[in-house]
């Protein structure tokens, strides 16, 4: 697939609102200390609108997490560019909150101390930090567990704590790296519902990495379907789901969208390695 078509594809998607994240011509080569180098991402172009929820969907090894880490500023941008709200990304910052699959909570801190960590770094007075943390903890449904350590919580509760820790800083961008991948199906479903509710209450640009088609269609306005080796965006699909209907998962439109994207993901022609 040539780069020209890719540019077309991402342009055609049409971000709603102003562009919040702009990635253009991004190529990332992974150089392991031993063994040969791998082109993890090849000429990626995408834009994410203000308050838009997009999903990066693809098989493992397609570089979707790498793309997220690059937007987060954790890995250096070597070729191409990434800007968030017009500013080029150079290093990690609290304006781009991230939630990892394995929570990455600080295990030696209580839930409250975890949530307060970012506020403390901002130099907020202790009482204010405590008040804001308490409010956020209540919002994610962890009231009563403020003094628990992560090791004492279930997987779902840990992820709630991790989300609270990120959202308490009210980032304008939220990066999520398969955040519900480590949870059981029931908890995952519950967390998806609550994430949508949180996002509606305080809209932000969300980039959500997943390999679960159902999850992508359920959550996102637009789905970027990626292919592996080298990681490329092979299609952008607007879901166009009306989520005001509580039973929308059972609607024909939803099921057909899942089916459409499922085929996009799996009809992957064997490209050159």
């Amino acid at each position: 697939m040539g780069s020209a078509t890719q540019a077309e594809v991402s342009g055609a998607g049409g971000a709603k609102g102003d562009s919040h994240i702009v990635v253009s011509g991004l190529t990332h080569v992974y150089r392991p200390r031993h063994g040969r180098q791998v082109t993890a991402l090849d000429d990626i172009n995408l834009t994410v609108g203000n308050h838009e929820f997009v999903a990066l969907l693809g098989p493992s090894g397609c570089g979707k997490s790498t793309l997220l880490y690059l937007i987060g500023g954790f890995l250096p941008v070597e070729k191409g560019s990434i800007s968030v709200l017009g500013e080029p990304v150079r290093e990690p910052g609290p304006d781009r909150g991230i939630v990892f699959q394995h929570f990455a909570l600080f295990p030696w801190k209580t839930v409250r101390a975890n949530v307060m960590y970012g506020l403390e770094r901002k130099g907020l007075p202790k009482r204010e930090a405590e008040a804001r943390a308490a409010e956020m903890i209540a919002q994610v449904g962890l009231k009563g567990f403020e003094d628990s350590y992560p090791s004492q919580l279930s997987g779902g509760m840990r992820q709630r704590a991790a989300i609270a820790r990120t959202l308490v800083l009210d980032p304008s961008t939220l990066l999520m790296d398969e955040p519900f991948g480590a949870l059981d199906a029931q908890t995952r479903n519950l967390m998806q519902i609550e994430l949508l509710a949180l996002w509606r209450r305080s809209p932000k640009a969300v980039v959500f990495v997943t390999h679960d088609v159902h999850e992508a269609v359920y959550l996102a306005d637009r789905v970027f379907v990626m292919s592996a080796r080298p990681g490329r965006i092979k299609a952008v699909v607007s879901t166009g789901i009306d989520r005001s209907d509580r039973e929308f998962v059972k609607s024909r439109a939803f099921v057909e969208k899942v089916d459409e994207i499922w085929h996009l993901v799996h009809d992957q022609p064997q490209g050159p390695r």
Partner: protein, 276 residues
């Protein structure tokens, strides 16, 4: 610490059974130790072994009691603990600092790294005569010797701990606004704490062993010095009293250290090893 098979003793068991269970448990947990002491005492009393080689347990206890009474135990204990714990403290502080530096700075690793990997397996006690030559026979030599031996487990554990911190933990902290210097104190040190404490737990008995050797070689009282003194005067009761005293000191220090670890690592859901 539970011995298999006695687990089922619940609250509902009749009092007598509970008492028997309790007695059984004590017998299981300490039986062979009690038997050892009884055999020891019997061997000595019945003169199966000469009292010079094995003074009776009660005589040894009486000696310890006397040493407590006239204050010699306290004086010797203070000497030994001062040397062991001073050296231990220096080893912990310097070892953690050095380990962090080595984990963090490429230059420091370049300069000191090979020295550390070379020094760890070295039998450092052989340098004691050299330290005597340099620093004399008093506390300085003994404390430096303790530091030299106790610091290596702390350094290697700190390096391993600091380098083993998960990438995403550090990323999370950076993402939440932590700067480079915040990272070391608020993230890497606590995240590496379990491993660092393991290194410190290895260093503590080493510190005591080396302090005792130093006293045995250089005198200057202390529990080790007192044991050698007793040995020279063929006072076997004194030798065994010293052994028992040092064992109790070691026991208390190790228990204290374990308590400190539990206190510091309340957050850590670690499986307690079954033995020691």
């Amino acid at each position: 610490m539970a011995i298999d098979g006695l687990e089922r003793a619940g609250e509902r068991t009749p009092a007598l059974v509970a008492v028997l269970n309790g007695a059984g448990r004590i017998l299981l947990d300490y039986g062979s130790l009690i038997a050892l002491v009884i055999v020891w005492e019997a061997c000595a009393r019945l003169q199966i072994v000469s009292p010079y080689l094995l003074p009776s347990f009660t005589n040894v206890l009486a000696r310890i009691w006397a040493e407590i009474g006239d204050g010699t135990l306290l004086v010797n204990l203070a000497d030994t603990l001062r040397r062991a714990l001073l050296g231990f403290a220096i080893a912990v502080v310097a070892g953690v600092a050095l380990g962090m530096l080595l984990a963090r700075s490429v230059t420091a690793e370049w300069l000191v790294g090979p020295l550390v990997s070379l020094g760890f397996p070295l039998p450092k006690i052989t340098f004691l005569p050299i330290f005597i030559l340099w620093f004399g026979v008093y506390d300085t030599s003994k404390v430096i010797m303790v530091v030299c031996d106790a610091i290596f487990p702390v350094i290697t554990a700190t390096i391993a701990g600091a380098q083993g911190v998960e990438r995403q933990i550090i990323w999370s902290a950076r993402n939440l606004g932590a700067r480079e210097r915040d990272l070391w104190s608020t993230i890497i040190l606590p995240a590496a704490a379990p491993q660092i404490l393991s290194g410190i737990e290895v260093a503590l008995p080493i510190a005591l062993i080396i302090a005792v050797v130093g006293e045995m070689m250089l005198g200057g009282s202390g529990l080790g010095g007192a044991m050698m003194q007793s040995w020279r005067f063929a006072d076997s009761v004194g030798v065994f009293a010293g052994l028992l005293e040092l064992s109790v000191v070691g026991f208390i220090l190790i228990r204290l250290m374990a308590a400190v670890r539990r206190r510091l690592l309340r957050w850590h859901a670690e499986a307690q090893p079954d033995l020691v």
